[in-house]
Amino acid sequence: MLYFTLRRLYLLSFTLLMLSIVSFSLSYLFPGDIIVNLSGITNPTLEQRIELNALYKMDDSVFHQYFAYIKQVVNGNLGISMFNNAPIVDEMNTYLPATIELCVTALFIATIFGVTLGFIAAIFHNKWIDKIILAFAMIGYSIPAFWLALILIVIFSILLSWFPSSGQINLLFDVKEVTSFIFIDIWFSDIDDKWLAFQDALRHIFLPAITVAVTPMTIFIRLSRTSMLNVLDSNYIKAARAKGLSNVKIIYHHGIRNALVQIIRQMGMHFAHLVSVVMIAEVVFDWQGIGSWLINSIFQRDYTAIQGGLIAMATFTFLINIFADILYVTLNPIERYKRHGA
């Protein structure tokens, strides 16, 4: 187990190395002055330029420059935004938590509903319920996220006015930003009606989370259905039937865990897909997250922000992937234990 975790971390360090090389080379590939791209200071004065040249070792070879850049990144200096001169790290501290919140909520919804529906479809294989779930999965998979977002807004915000169409919380609640995770902030804030604020935040996250969750959910439905069908077709289920166990017992004790083990890794893989949907949903729902921030930065040619956003998003996705891998190993004894005498 420890060995496995170490191996994953080793992989992580290599991926981060590749990522940093890509991010560093961007400052060469983007148009304009390299030192401007790296630091984000447009039109630096002569003194500033000398200072930055020393900081990023611009007089040395590219190799040294790269290490100087890594040193700055590790120290939390990603430069400043070309657009509003705010440090990128501060910007990310405000925007990244909102995205993480949305991602995790959407992933949660997608997993709970996707896996359950998939299992139900597999258990009632070739029955009408299976066909309905499959049809739903097909439709959900084919709907583009931005369109679904607009439809949801029309129905639930405008026609029914059940859920708000934008933002993270009503401005009436004066929640002080500490961690930028809205739910955690509400918990630690000293406002009177915490519970109301909490409900309001939940109502705000509902529509964007649903929008983001639909596509991965349909993928999870198909994954878990196939996996459960495989498991139910296996010899050990047949043997369990011969033992005289009831169907419910077989599925509960032998079906679910084996089916989950097979899909958990693939679910991690599909997280990258979820992140790209999140970026779109953030723009539509005016969600103050890193996705909409990144898209704005792209429009404004804010190269330092693009670099920083790239590093943050990619690292987040890798971490979730590794988390899924570790979860897979903890659930799967075949990976955990060696054979006796082997």
Binding site: K238, R241, K243, G244, R257, P333, I334, H340
Partner: protein, 329 residues
């Protein structure tokens, strides 16, 4: 009284193209405490037949029988769920590839405890849990596993194939079955392990008077243990009788060919001589011959063989052939 009495059991496989008669009117009668062997080549329908006895097959297969009696009770009159309940209560089954028959993500101990009958234990749940554990350990001892504590906490992939088969037998014994169906229990196992498994089955048969239906394609290997043998070919009943009858006086041309195809120590074979074989191969399921399915390969075949022969009984030696070798002996 007969423990199991099945007459003319047929199994059809429905595919998108047509219907295939995979098992064609096979009969089987088992007495209490009998060690019966069911032999046939791969694809002769023996495994399917055994699984059909359990109603373990899925919707693709349709089973029909003229008679299906379990301990004198006519199971065909009962709804299918009832049948399953009665059969799984008294009959246990072990399969080939034991490792794939144990849930890979659950410990051996749990899988054994799961098979135990709940009504045998009493007291509060912690007392019952303890009794269950003791019962599981006892079962492991019965099948000759001494290091029970390691075994109970292990997962199937940590054990060898032979140990997994012992665990499967332990699980089968948990219900104290009257009949144990062993479907090629020693496939892909080393010879020493095979011997151990057979000895274990044989001792269970003798000590507990448990009937055993041993399915195998290795006629020579199992003949040492069995009382009676049933031979199948391509889904059809061929011959049944005591092991001695089958080996000494095989009536059916197929059985005769099967026996003469195996090399014997007593018969001196010159180097690189061919063993005796029947011409041709087993027919594929899509192109089964009508009548006796051995027909095209049979040395005794005549025009009459296109109609399926009736099973004839000669003092407990059953044969299904128009032109049997009965008069040769």
């Amino acid at each position: 009284m007969n423990l199991l009495d099945v007459k003319n059991l047929s199994i059809r496989l429905t595919t998108s193209l047509d219907e295939i008669l995979v098992v064609d009117r096979v009969s089987l009668t088992l007495k209490e405490g009998e060690f019966r062997g069911l032999v046939g080549e791969s694809g002769s329908g023996k495994s399917i037949f055994a699984q059909a006895l359990f109603w373990l097959l899925d919707d693709k297969w349709t089973i029909s029988a003229d008679r299906f009696h379990w301990q004198g009770q006519d199971l065909l009159r009962l709804p299918i769920e009832e049948r399953k309940k009665i059969i799984t209560k008294d009959v246990a089954m072990i399969f080939q590839e034991p490792m794939s028959c144990l849930d890979p993500t659950t410990t051996i101990g749990y899988q054994i405890e799961e098979a135990l009958d709940d009504s045998e234990f009493s007291g509060f749940f912690w007392q019952r849990a303890k009794q269950r554990k003791q019962a599981a350990v006892k079962l492991l001892h019965k099948v000759g596993i001494k290091q029970h504590s390691i075994c109970i906490n292990s997962y199937p992939h940590q054990l060898t194939n032979a140990l997994c088969q012992r665990v499967m037998i332990a699980i089968a014994l948990a219900k104290r079955p009257k009949l144990l169906i062993a479907d090629e229990p020693t496939a892909a196992m080393e010879t020493t392990n095979q011997g151990q498994i057979f000895r274990l089955l044989s001792s269970l048969n003798q000590l507990k008077n448990m009937s055993i239906l041993l399915i195998s394609h290795e006629l020579e290997k199992i003949s040492h243990w069995t009382d009676r043998l049933t031979v199948m070919y391509s889904g059809q009943f061929v011959e049944a009788g005591t092991t001695e009858q089958i080996f000494k006086t095989p009536f059916h041309p197929y059985t005769k060919a099967l026996l003469s195809s195996s090399p014997k120590l007593s018969k001196h074979l010159a180097k690189k001589t061919r063993l005796e074989t029947l011409p041709g191969t087993i027919p594929v399921l899509q192109h089964l011959p009508i009548g006796c399915r051995l027909g095209p390969r049979c040395p005794n075949a005549q025009k009459h063989c296109v109609t399926a022969p009736q099973i004839r009984n000669f003092q407990g030696h059953l044969v299904s052939c128009h032109f049997s070798h009965r008069r040769d002996y």
